[in-house]
Symmetry: C2
Subunit: 487 residues, 2 copies
């Protein structure tokens, strides 16, 4: 090859390298390191991360802080006594115009190992399902996937020699699944560290169509646990049946009155105060895929609630869900008894305009309107004898409100543009159905939030056999690379 040709070739090569976009760099990197990445992700997933096990939560936090340091990120733990630490990382770029904060969480929902195929939520395993590889473990999707994608995207950008342009912050929480009771306090104590132009909440699943999704808000969340009382101890259902009130029946009657058969909530005032969607938000919803029929098939559902409304419209409404109820025994251990009590756990999801504590109060007021005397601790014999019906209602104090960031803010448009550089089709949604404590983050970090999920919708989040489609991980690394390299 003659010299001028060689010079021209080298120039083109250099240009090609320079022209490699962050998503392209990420794609090459993950393609070249798949086995090794799956192994590293498995190691992260094998550390138990449930609230009942603070020792292992600490192991997760220490490991993640070390992983950030390995990549040259200034990292530390932001701690409060009695709470899992927030893993914090900081990259400052001289002359940067923006500071982008990446939120995710390393804790997972409680587990019932016997419900998992294989019996262990913390022994990750890759299985092929319908020709796709998925990794199974607690938090595979929710939410260690996001953390691992960010770490891997940093490696990919570094390997390709792509410079970072903005200041970056990593804020990885350890008690999101417990309702983030200390996050606001930790943010307030570290306001300068966590403040940025936008806080990207990297959590939750993408649209069921499989398209990358950006979500500009999340429903709030509040819980109530309701217990109603029958006889002081289990009574023979023959000798006292028809006479001693059955608490399971009382609870059934109470719960049944909360919804009609279409799922419309009958608790008085439940829908009052909802802030309507803007024109831009309504417009975005009309472009979003309609997956309802596909989902009914996937979930074996012969009918759905909502009187014909679409899923995406329904999650812009507040909800009331029975997480569980129990009374006496069922199945092989059922006995002929009038049980002493019956309990239900309710999950209330909220939309912008409704306060979480007021929503709890509306349910409590409804219970009272059904003739119940409400107590907040185990009732005494005297209280039970003095009132025909008594309900113990425990308000979970870790609730929070919904928030929504306008889609047409300058920073919103920049984030949309970055993600569109990584993925061809992007679904824009005003609200996700799930909840993240966005309001507390926004107040404490004085910023706005946009949610960037990467997990497959069918990841069994919060249930047994949680999993992540590996293809979602690889594409998630591309999306994260684009966002890490924002201006």
């Amino acid at each position: 090859m003659k010299l001028p040709y060689l010079a021209a070739f080298l120039f083109c090569l250099a240009t090609a390298i320079a022209a490699q976009t962050p998503p392209e760099a990420a794609r090459k990197y993950t393609a070249a390191h798949r086995a090794e990445l799956v192994q590293q992700f498995s190691e992260l997933l094998s550390i138990p991360n449930v609230a009942a096990d603070p020792g292992n939560l600490k192991r997760n936090a220490d490991l993640l802080a070390a992983e950030l340091r390995k990549r040259g990120v200034d990292s530390r733990l932001l701690s409060l006594p009695g709470a899992p630490s927030v893993v914090f990382g900081q990259i400052d770029v001289p002359g940067a115009q923006h500071t982008i904060v990446f939120y995710a969480h390393y804790d997972g929902q409680p587990v019932t190992p016997s419900e998992w195929d294989g019996g262990s939520p913390f022994t990750p395993i890759v299985r092929e399902v319908n020709g796709e590889q998925r990794i199974y473990a607690r938090s595979a999707g929710d939410d260690k996937a996001a953390i691992f994608a960010q770490l891997t995207a940093l490696d990919a950008l570094n390997a390709a020699g792509i410079a970072l342009l903005a200041n970056l912050r990593f804020v990885w929480e350890g008690e999101e699944e417990a309702g983030s009771p200390h996050l606001e306090q930790i943010f307030n104590a570290n306001r300068d560290l966590v403040h940025g132009d936008v806080l990207l909440v990297c959590d939750g699943p993408i649209d069921q169509s499989g398209q990358q999704t950006l979500v500009f808000g999340a429903r709030g969340d509040a819980h109530l646990e309701i217990t109603v009382y029958g006889p002081h101890h289990g009574l023979h259902s023959g000798h006292y049946g028809n006479w001693a009130p059955n608490p399971a029946m009382m609870l059934a009657q109470l719960l049944a009155g909360m919804k009609d058969e279409d799922g419309h909530i009958l608790v008085p005032h439940f829908y009052e105060g909802i802030e309507p969607l803007s024109a831009a938000e309504k417009e975005a919803l009309t472009h979003a895929p309609v997956n309802d029929h596909m989902l009914m098939n996937a979930f074996w559902l012969g009918h759905v609630d909502g009187a014909g409304a679409h899923l995406l419209d329904l999650i812009n409404q507040p909800s009331l869900n029975i997480n569980g109820f129990s009374s006496g025994q069922t199945g092989a251990s059922a006995v002929n008894v009038i049980p002493p009590a019956a309990t239900a756990d309710l999950d209330l999801r909220l939309v912008v305009g409704i306060d979480w504590q007021e929503q709890q109060q509306r349910v409590i007021d409804y219970i009272r309107s059904r003739g119940y005397f409400i107590v907040d601790r185990e009732p005494t014999q005297q209280i039970l004898l003095e009132h025909s019906r008594v309900a113990l209602v425990v308000r979970d104090e870790a609730g929070y409100n919904a928030v929504r960031t306008p889609m047409d803010l300058h920073i919103s448009r920049e984030v949309i543009e970055a993600v569109k550089s990584a993925r061809k089709d992007v679904v824009l949604l005003p609200t996700m159905g799930g909840s993240v404590p966005l309001g507390a983050m926004e107040r404490a970090a004085q910023t706005r939030t946009i949610t960037v999920p990467i997990a497959n919708y069918d990841d069994n989040q919060h249930a047994a056999n949680e999993n992540l489609r590996l293809q979602n991980l690889w594409e998630g690394v591309e999306t994260m690379a684009a966002l890490l390299d924002m201006k």
Copy 2:
């Protein structure tokens, strides 16, 4: 002492011995042997006797057959493959006019050891409660008490030299708590052995007033297990709440429609066919103690079902009881999920005139009327997709009907008289609330039944911390002695 005086003394002594009634002999005997009797009863209670443990059921049966033999009773096991044996004992008295059959059962309800104080239902323990001694163990009241009282009464009569006057039969079953699925077949195969003028069902608790009770019938019993379906697997309650139907709510709505707030059953036709009480039965009820207020205090009940009717009237009606329901998780392990299914176990008690299978069918017809497609096995994806609501209803096949023996039969009057010789106050009830498979016994043994309970009403029968008040045991031995010595 001079001879005439000595002769007079000996004559008086002999007269006193001869004049000793069976209840008096029993009272003297138990008073003289209390510690020893408690020890022997404890040994019997320490052998586990639940259906899931056939090996130990067999140990119970072998021991009881041996105890009968020790007392000179011709005894054997009446067996069928796959079923616990009936312990049978026979005493023939030359020239006897009557044959009296004593039924009891040696099996107990399933146990959940963690719910018991002390943690073991098969380590009997005597505790003093409000100045009374009680023995705690599974079956202390239901129903080893009756068996042990009969064995002890035989010993007492023997010790006092009191001759038996009637032929006696002992029939002690081992699967009453499982619904006696084989009892009729065993009786049919041994009809000559179990036939008598009356079959005394020695089971259940006495009246809550503490007075000895005779009951001339028992409610029948039938079970149904109902499961309704939500999504195929647990779904995130945020992402799908408001859209994916919640099976706990569906089940609550279904159950709530079965009763009004007074406990009146709304299942169509549920009360149809009831055979009214006779004048004698109504009359007996007017003399029965009214314990309702005392029981409400004892059970910490601020209200009762039945719109003001008394307990004793209400147990002459059919009942519908939720033994238990469950869906998802509650308490510390509750997660934010739409559970895949919800299950309730129903116990239907029946009175004379209502067929148990027809009563099950009435409930099934009601479920269907609420829009459910009924299946009798786990539904497939296709079935779930083709029907908006699907309910799996499992009919327990071990149900049976109620029976009542008229109180004015000759043999009824003789039994009443014998028991009144032992106890001053005797409550006569047409029907007990609980169920015993009396109909099968009556058909197969071609006899009538009268129930003679001895346990205290507050024996926690069918629940944790089952117990027997020791005073009930001693009085029960007196009652049994009177019945064993009937003409």
